[in-house]
Subunit: 282 residues, 6 copies
């Protein structure tokens, strides 16, 4: 979901300031001031486009009158060479904003492109592909947007919108049941509780204690199938998530165990930026 | 160069807030409060470590008494399985800070690891490997730190600490000479001016107009050699930078043209995070 | 749950600046500087105490060496006249911080005191008392903390940690089923979806479409009982919340319909501050 | 006095972010985007309206094109059921901003309504009703605005725009005279100095030392009358403020002692929010 | 009055960031890291010292362990060559903080030095020397502190802690009386109202309408004497301020008209920085 | 170079808040609200005008519809009495913004006026006049803009856009050569390195070690001439800067030694504000 400008604009302003520091000396030195120009964005690699509305805000913050016109659909796949946007406005805004806008669109399109590869593997199955909290500090909301654009579904956005009980937490509380009941007492009742399990014993314990989501972490395909069977027999509503060692080669087999969700950080932590470039055309 | 805490701490605080939102419900729900614990960081892949002092600050902001003890040297290469740090402090701080700290160290170590590969190709030659402004928005200062840790040298940090005249600027000014003299008049005299060139004519024009740095952009190896010859004959001090299409395979041949610097965004835009993990040991 | 200092301290600093403006002219004019003093906090009304750890942070931000010693338990009920804390530190910090610290503790204790009244009515029943998003702008995290201290349970903390589908949303989407399925597609899968219903038809529709939480809004006791029956027959896990016109007189009857949760904004919007005062004792 | 947008807008933005967190998942999930709608605000209780211009800014920050049209006068008393405003703009802005805007208008209208009750008791007398620094942290400027809207007069806005010498200060300085002269030397000469007194001796001492304002704190009606007599005989310009134990029942008798001002925190600390609601009408 | 650290520290941090940008490349390049050093501050001109406690905070923010030891008294006059402070701590903190700390102390000492010259002219008279709102944007609180250190008294600190009615306001309201009564109705009753007058008619009108302070603006000495006579005959408590064309030559004659205050912006707008320097001694 | 609004607007907002605090009580008290007015700015002293575009932004932030019309050219010299701008907009914006806008324009015009005096002394020589880092904390970017408007050239803007090696650094490193090579290794290669020298030995050492800029600090005219000769014989590109004891009387003689740049902080640290005033004309 595209972030509200209330959330987004101050982040973009910080990123512009990071690059501009005390001012773009090249552009300022040329005294371009208010002369108008036109630029075009091009793809230099095949991939899925994400982030054009965000790039548009970058230029808008530098020139309120700028016109950023997307020529492609956010979330679609295009071939290298495709013209993806034109930007008309003050030359100084186009040149000063170029790098920040491209850095954003390139990294987000890279994530969307990689996400699409995973999603395509399981497109005909009911299982959905999910992201994680392994996101670049400062960019979570945008990287999770790119995941959606690429066809994935978001997992929790942070430490406060869902509970995830891992082995460290279980150990600290003295068991899954104790951890769940202690947490349940203290948190907003609207929050889901997910429990990370690594064997069938833990799966059963999470099930008995009414976890809302059970994560099957780093299990073999066989164990995963068994876990899904055990859970579904007892409860139709608990959600099942598989995690750990999810590769393009293996994802389909995991989905075929009938888990509801498969999570992986790979589209964010193991992807390349999609190569895009800008050229002045006027 | 490691950033000052005056610069760094407010960024880390923002990143913690991005993840915590209104609070870490899992840890808060467990009422861990002030109970003390100990955690260990491990490598799950071979690579060059970068970012431990930054990770240390993450935990410090959550618990002033935390002890983060690195067990390896920043910038060295280690094998998967190596214990790289121990952290002792409040369990709630260890668990709440884990993800942000790891996300930083993993992405920075990934950059340092990839940088090292390029640097190693030309380690016995005088040419140095340089980064670019293609950096993740919000992380430039840290990603440029990771480049250094990996053995690279930094190019300019932003739009205000050096001038880079590209074709768009040249076209706007009406020629390299005009662009340089116009900019030179208007900027701090202490700033270097770099000119991007794509053929020998432009190289000569940049040379005549006393550019401080001449970038040879996307030239063939042969043209680069010629350009270096032309420049060195006339001026021993101007710096020469090669850019464009720099791969691990090609970098050594480029360095052998005797350029001073080779720049590439690949360690930042085309690298994976280095896999690290944390486990509670007490 | 008590908020992390990462979240809390900058809010308190803003509140101190709101009161101090360009400086506390009375205290500054007296040139109190670093002279040490001791103060005591007293109750001037019976009630439940909440907010002492927050008041402690107020003084700490003005004097790093201050000692704030609570003499009562957060969340307990005490009689007027009880000494609830002593504070030792720089006189200037005690006098400058007094008003902000008391304003916080008085308003939060007022909320906890009022919450306790509702909670006491249903203490022997399984139903829990829940707050709402009708909170004072800027104080939500603290007012929700006060609710917990008073014995209540938190509803969602904001617009991003759970979904609440009201009639306006239903109308915009064209039905409960369409609204749920559209939203389910677009949000983090970990989020709960609550649907507001005002009659049995809507209850059934929400149930069929697998709402996680069904709110019975402004229903008669009889309709509520029927709704609970319909829901429980079909689904043991869906949570049932009653809302609207919850008074101290009526809450017990509502709980006896066997809803899981009863929500009301009254402890926040219809309560008085608890009267507390500070006096210098040294 | 209505605060400048320079002061107000960043506060409102913070309050929106408090509620929205990482985004309004319900509205975003419905993909409402830019579809237009119309809403109406209604009173569900009798009272004095305050805060409509502030509510207007809330919606404006979410949608620059929103039209917020008040249908009543700020500061007037209306009956339950009155339509007080219509809002036209993007549905997503109306639904996302609803709670924050209502929370502000409800709490401020509650203050204005309660203030009016006190003011009405003494409307035919020259004495004026004044607020205090017991205000909700973060909301002082708005709560003091609500006091004015309700017919009250503001006391000092913070610790820096007037001096208030209380017993703790007097004790620290060694007497009223010493405290006044010490403070007078060190503060902007334009600031007024108020002295809190609890008996006639102190009143005389404050008078002799040329306090600008003398507060009669928690005195009996008889002592207050005597104090007013003593002061007026000697000085026509010193202002006299009565404080402590001001109730709706007692305020008229206090005013009849001919004090200039009567201060009370009750309209802020002992009032209910005025019940208002929003409904979509299109 | 020295500002609270709650107010001061974030300003100093901003000023450090203004100078450091992305980091002090000279000091960072030398890898000084944590090596300890000692520096001394010297006067290179005669003057009154102001700002040492502020300089101390600059270094403290860069190195929590730094020891800044003043060797002179804030507000005293010293001769060129005097050692005014020693600073011991990390060399990197001393060198990075040097310029910001000196810039502050030099400009504030310049103001204190110039203020002292005016104050000395009227030291034996009851009239006091007062500053204005002509202060450097961002530095008001410190420049007003320097005025006090130099022996002056502060006028209002901003637009909110006193009212100043100038001819533009009088014209807008339709007369002095109308302006005063309109403003009096709408502002905190604790605020003083000053009226700017330029002839005896206006003085009388301000007097009749009970201005708290009457400013005699740009009057001849003779007219000022008459004005003082008219005012004092009628009211002993109204304060009289002379303003406009106050020079070192003329100030004594103005004071002899028996005005209470003489205001001038000259020590801030027409003074030089006092030359101070730092040298490393270890 | 005029700063980008991305950089400038938040500074201006801070300065407005510094002056307004909780609101302009005089203007608010008059209930001027949206009534329109017109004001004129006048010079009350001869001088060079700088800062009108910045003043325009001050009023714009208070009233989006304000029209600020400059009647003179930024950087030109005008006589006392010249009308330099008209401002049309809400009276409340004109009166509330007056002081901040004038404070900025007066201090910047003072700097431009003083700079012009130095520049005029050497206008027919190739040497250029340069500023320093002795700037008012918080105002560097604007004071450096005023230097340019006055005809000067900027030196580095902060600690991060050029390296300056002073004796303290040399001593810490153990010699000029060691300092240069150590720093060169660690900083962005695009940064210039300047070395401060005080005798011919140091000049030679800086020259041998390929400093980009050699500063001749506090040298006699004779020694400067010799230094220029030594440097120019060996290297045509190294830049030579003279510094220390630069007065209006001496600057021409210094320029005649054929140094490239002469730096002085005097236009900033030893100048007066240029007297400007505003009057309402409608």
């Amino acid at each position: 979901m595209f972030p509200s400008s209330v959330v987004l604009d101050s982040m973009i302003k910080d990123w512009l300031l990071e690059d501009m520091g005390r001012g773009d000396k090249t552009t300022q030195g040329l005294l371009l001031l208010d002369s108008e120009g036109k630029a075009q964005w091009l793809m230099k690699e095949d991939g899925v486009i994400a982030g054009l509305p965000i790039a548009a805000r970058v230029f808008r913050l530098l020139d309120e009158q700028v016109a950023f016109t997307p020529m492609v659909e956010e979330g679609n796949f295009y071939k290298s060479g495709t013209k993806i946007a034109t930007i008309e406005g003050k030359k100084s805004a186009l040149l000063t904003g170029e790098r920040v806008a491209l850095n954003l669109a390139m990294s987000l399109s890279g994530i969307a492109t990689e996400t699409r590869k995973y999603v395509d593997q399981i497109a005909d199955l009911p299982t959905q592909f999910v992201d994680t909290r392994k996101t670049t500090p400062g960019l979570r909301i945008l990287e999770k947007y790119a995941t959606q654009v690429g066809g994935g579904v978001n997992h929790r956005l942070g430490l406060d919108d869902a509970v995830m009980i891992k082995d460290n937490h279980i150990q600290a509380a003295g068991g899954i049941g104790k951890a769940i009941s202690l947490i349940r007492e203290n948190i907003p009742y609207t929050l889901s509780i997910e429990v990370e399990t690594s064997n069938l014993e833990e799966v059963k314990e999470a099930l008995v204690n009414q976890a809302d989501i059970i994560m099957l972490d780093n299990m073999s395909l066989e164990m995963m199938s068994q876990a899904v069977g055990i859970i579904r027999e007892k409860d139709q509503r608990v959600k099942i998530e598989a995690s750990g060692n999810i590769t393009l080669e293996r994802i389909r087999a995991v989905a075929e165990t009938r888990v509801d969700y498969i999570s992986s950080s790979a589209p964010i932590t193991r992807s390349y930026w999609l190569d895009l470039s800008m050229r002045m055309v006027d």
